[in-house]
């Protein structure tokens, strides 16, 4: 950067920054505030209370949807991370060959395919499968989410692997480790921060997915986001705010956890 140039001295820069932050965080702040509303409105504040949190926690449908959301997110993110780890090892721990870059692209391009396209494609496939097999359980949702999450999980894992010195694996082999031992004792532990990052990314993406879930789910398989969407079409109460706020807390905890983990491993 040129010496003497400071963006803060630009006229209007401070105001712009303030507006940007307001646009990012004000709606969330309002949402959180009204979660504590004692009244029935999401527009008029009538004193503070935890009644909507209590109401949400006692709502069978909310509990059902929350449990289902967590089940799907954990299973899908786990599956996606497993596949992404294998894919990342396969594409980085090999010499360059024709078609390797094409394979890497095949893993990352789905990030740019509009989600609605994936959703429609999955709808067609899954509805056929439901008819053929007669199975209508959560499996479809889990597999669909996993497929969607693979490229997200793949990116941090591959980044970590390609930044990792391969002489460490050579050193392990030199010190009598078989290929499997070298992977288990050297590659995997060093890769762990990338794997955790990949899992968390997949987890969060699955947790708040609406589009694919709406298209793929069978009757009575609402996840928390699709349940909330359904509620919005009827009467809106601060219960929605309370659920969202709880959701927000969960993501903040995850982000902090991830930040701590990745910083600890960097030293």
């Amino acid at each position: 950067m040129r010496k003497g140039f400071d963006t803060r001295s630009l006229p209007g820069f401070g105001i712009m920054a303030l507006l940007c932050f307001a646009a990012l965080y004000l709606p969330i702040a309002v949402l959180v505030v009204f979660a504590f509303n004692a009244g029935d409105s999401i527009a008029v504040m009538q004193g503070l209370s935890l009644r909507w949190f209590v109401a949400a926690a006692q709502n069978e449908q909310v509990i059902d949807a929350s449990i289902r959301s967590l089940q799907v997110a954990v299973a899908a993110a786990g599956l996606a991370t497993f596949v992404a780890t294998l894919a990342a090892v396969a594409t980085t721990r090999t010499h360059r060959y024709r078609g390797r870059d094409a394979k890497i692209m095949l893993f990352t391009v789905p990030l740019m395919v509009p989600e609605i396209v994936t959703a429609v494609a999955l709808l067609i496939l899954v509805s056929k499968l439901k008819v053929w097999t007669g199975y209508t359980g959560l499996g479809y949702l889990i597999l669909s989410h996993a497929a969607f999450c693979v490229p997200f999980a793949y990116m941090p894992i591959r980044a970590r692997l390609s930044g990792m010195d391969t002489t460490l694996e050579a050193a392990a082999a030199d010190l009598y480790a078989s290929r499997w031992q070298a992977f288990a004792h050297v590659t995997l532990p060093l890769l762990l921060p990338g794997i955790i990052a990949g899992f968390m990314l997949g987890f969060v993406i699955s947790l708040d997915d609406v589009v694919i879930t709406e298209f793929v789910k069978s009757a009575g398989q609402d996840t928390l986001p699709t349940y909330m969407l359904g509620q919005l079409r009827r009467n809106i109460t601060p219960e929605i705010n309370a659920i969202s706020t709880a959701f927000l807390m969960l993501s903040i905890v995850l982000i902090v956890l991830f930040y701590l983990l990745s910083n600890r491993k960097k030293t």
Partner: protein, 366 residues
Amino acid sequence: MRDSSDMGESKVLSAVTLAGVAKFFGTFKAIEGIDLTIRQNEFFTLLGPSGCGKTTILRMLAGFETPSSGEILLDGRDISRLGPNQRPVNTVFQNYALFPHLSVAQNIGFALKMLGRPRPEIRDTVEDMLALVQLSGRGDQLVTQLSGGQQQRVALARALAPRPKVLLLDEPLSALDQKLRKTMQIELKRMQRETGITFVFVTHDQEEALTMSDRIAVLSNGALRQVGSPHEIYNHPVDRFVADFIGETNLLTGKVIRQDGDCAHVVLPGGVTIEAQCPHAVSAGSEVTLAVRPEHCTLAGPEAPLSGFIEQVVYFGTDTHFHLRLPGGAPLVLRRQNAADGRALPQQGETVGVALAPSATRVLRD
């Protein structure tokens, strides 16, 4: 490609034998047909300029590369097709390659753990190794908390812990500062003596090779030029490359007049005839290259047949270098040890007599 130091000796125990080992990368010939015997329990150095193939030879010994042709024998067994984890040869990597997620002790015990040795044995060996590299009490530290010199010691301990038949070291001292390097040179020699393990050491630093090695192999462009003790390599270089690469050398050209056994009479371009060592046969009238070290040239009185014009005088504390121009136009560097009496030395612009020690002046093979 001759191994002069093996001549006339009784059969010695060999640790590693390279028989006609060559290595191609595509069509590029990195190593050409090398025959070499590394003896048990010796400090052996591969010396040569950057890119001459030292690392490639080491990687073939370690098992990271397979020779394109030829055999590598370890205790008489061909190991050239075995993987790195299947041969009792360990490496100290140039960048150490320590495992950053493991403690010092876990790094040192890694090989024994992979070999499935019992825990108490691993613990004892790790303690011994920590003592050997003078890091006792540091076993629980993370390797990332150590200084460069300490990491180097851990890398050594880690490679020595499984007691390999041969330890390979690829320019291990090049990343250290001058002072630490001198200390580590002595340390490495001590560790080699104490463990009795054959060390194969790679360096491009001829001074380091001369001070540390039992024997040295000089390489250039993937070919072996000379193998011998530091004394042989320094005092009896077989060719122009070795003479030029090892230490400072004056190279003079001249024409042979006659040869009496090991002594050749050579006339220099200025018309002065000098005597030089020449163990190989040369015919009268042929052009040859002579090598003589600066410390084997002396200042002589004005009556000496050979004279030199002083172009520059460089003072070094322990000695003084005179850069001379000989009558035929050839440059010659002469080194003179400084005396304590502070006697006046010849100055730039003077012409002085020069004597070349006949026993230290050699006719080189081409």
